[in-house]
C-alpha cells in the first residue's frame, strides 16, 4: 500500500459521487424544451382565479439549478418585476415572500400567472419572453421562499441588504 494507490482509490470514490443537479449549467436551452413545457403549461386546466388543482403540477426544468436561479434573479430585475414586487417584499404588486398565494404558488400556477397575466395589473408575458426564462424566474421566485435548496441559492446579492430579519428600517452607509 503506497500513497499513489491510496490517492488513486480516493479519487475513484470521488468520481463515483457523480454530478449533481445544483451545478448544471444549461447555457444553450434547446428549443424543444421551450415547446414542450410551453404547451404543457398552456394546456393545463388552470384558469385565472380558478381553483388550484395540485395534480396539474408541471415540473420546473430548472428546479434546484443554481445557475438558472441566478439567471432568474437577473431577469427578475431586467424585466422589471422588481418594479411592482420589489425584492419580493411587494409594493404596487403583492409580495412574493409568503406562503399564501392568490393564484397558487406551485410552479405551474406561477407559470400561468406570468404567461397569462392576472387582473389588477399583472401583465401577460406569454409569447413575449421565452418560456425557459419564465421557468428561470419561477425558480428564483420560489428560492425567495426557501423552496430551493439553500446550497443552490446565493448567500446574498451585491445589493443593499434587504433581509428583514436582520434589522428594521435600516439604510446602508454611503460609500465614498
Amino acid at each position: 500500500m503506497n500513497p499513489r494507490i491510496a490517492s488513486a482509490l480516493l479519487c475513484g470514490v470521488v468520481v463515483l459521487l457523480g454530478s449533481c443537479q445544483r451545478e448544471k449549467r444549461d447555457i444553450r436551452p434547446a428549443p424543444t424544451r421551450l415547446a414542450i413545457y410551453g404547451d404543457a403549461a398552456r394546456e393545463s386546466t388552470l384558469r385565472p382565479g380558478g381553483p388550484v388543482q395540485p395534480e396539474q403540477i408541471v415540473t420546473n426544468p430548472y428546479n434546484h439549478s443554481a445557475y438558472d436561479i441566478s439567471e432568474g434573479q437577473r431577469l427578475y430585475n431586467w424585466y422589471n418585476c422588481s418594479g411592482c414586487h420589489a425584492n419580493g417584499g411587494g409594493g404596487i404588486g403583492p409580495p412574493l415572500i409568503k406562503k399564501d398565494w392568490i393564484y397558487g404558488g406551485q410552479p405551474a400556477n406561477l407559470f400561468d400567472t406570468i404567461v397569462k397575466g392576472r387582473p389588477n395589473g399583472m401583465p401577460s408575458w406569454g409569447g413575449r419572453i421565452p418560456e425557459y426564462q419564465i421557468w428561470q424566474i419561477i425558480a428564483y421566485v420560489r428560492s425567495l421562499n426557501g423552496e430551493q435548496p439553500a446550497s443552490a441559492t446565493a448567500g446574498r446579492a451585491d445589493t443593499i441588504e434587504t433581509n428583514s430579519q436582520n434589522l428594521v428600517n435600516r439604510t446602508s452607509g454611503v460609500t465614498k
Binding site: E161, N166, L167, N169, R170, T171, V174
Partner: protein, 205 residues
C-alpha cells in the same frame, strides 16, 4: 573505522520545561499566525471605515461599553494565575498547578459569560452591513480561539487533578500560558477598536 572524538550527552536531562523546548517555539509560531490574522482584520476594519462617510453605518447602535469594559477585569485577572501555573509546572508543584489552573479557568469562564451576554446585545448581525460582518469576525475568531484554550486548560487541570501527568503535561501547562497571554494581549487592541473606535472618531449624523 577511525576512533573519532565523541561528545557525550548522557548527563543532559531527558526533558526540559522551559522556553528552551521546541514545543514552546512551535506554540509561539502558532501565536504569531493568529496575531497576523487579527492584525490583517484590524487593517481591513480601518480600510473600510475610511471609505465610509458615516460610522457606524446608520442603523447600527454604538457597541455597548459597560460589559466589555467590565469584562477586562476578569480577563486581566486570569493572567497572573496562568503565570504562577507555569512556574509551578516548572517546579513540578502539583498543588500550585491545580490552584492556579483552577483560578485561570474560573476567571476565564467569568469573562466568557460576559462576552456572550454582550455579544447577544448587539443589534446588528453579520448580514447587516460591513461593520456587522467585521465585528462578528473579530468576536467569532477570538471566541473560537478562546474557547479552544479554555478547553485545553480544562483538560490539563483534569489531568493534573487525576495525577495522570508527567513532563509532557507540565510542558503543556507551560506553553498553554503562552497562548493565554497572547489571547489576552490581542484582545486589548480589538476591544479598543471595535468598542471605542466608533465613539472616538464619531461622525455627525
Amino acid at each position: 573505522m577511525t576512533a573519532a572524538k565523541t561528545l557525550d550527552v548522557a548527563q543532559l536531562p531527558p526533558y526540559d520545561v522551559s522556553s528552551q523546548s521546541p514545543l514552546w517555539w512551535g506554540q509561539v509560531c502558532l501565536a504569531i499566525i493568529e496575531g497576523t490574522m487579527f492584525s490583517i482584520l484590524l487593517a481591513c476594519y480601518f480600510y473600510v471605515r475610511l471609505r465610509m462617510d458615516v460610522w457606524p453605518p446608520p442603523g447600527d447602535q454604538f457597541p455597548h461599553l459597560l460589559i466589555p469594559t467590565l469584562g477586562l477585569i476578569p480577563l486581566l485577572l486570569s493572567v497572573p494565575p496562568a503565570y504562577y501555573a507555569s512556574q509551578a509546572a516548572k517546579k513540578n508543584d502539583r498543588g500550585g498547578m491545580i490552584r492556579n489552573l483552577a483560578l485561570n479557568l474560573l476567571f476565564g469562564l467569568i469573562y466568557f459569560v460576559l462576552r456572550v451576554v454582550e455579544w447577544h446585545s448587539l443589534n446588528f448581525n453579520w448580514k447587516a452591513d460591513i461593520q456587522g460582518s467585521l465585528v462578528w469576525a473579530f468576536l467569532g475568531l477570538h471566541t473560537f480561539d478562546y474557547v479552544g484554550d479554555l478547553g485545553f486548560t480544562l483538560v490539563l487541570l483534569v489531568l493534573v487533578l487525576t495525577g495522570r501527568y508527567g513532563e509532557k503535561q507540565r510542558l503543556g501547562v507551560h506553553v498553554d500560558t503562552v497562548v493565554w497571554y497572547f489571547l489576552v494581549a490581542v484582545w486589548i487592541p480589538i476591544y479598543i477598536v471595535i468598542y471605542w473606535g466608533p465613539r472616538l472618531v464619531e461622525t455627525p449624523r
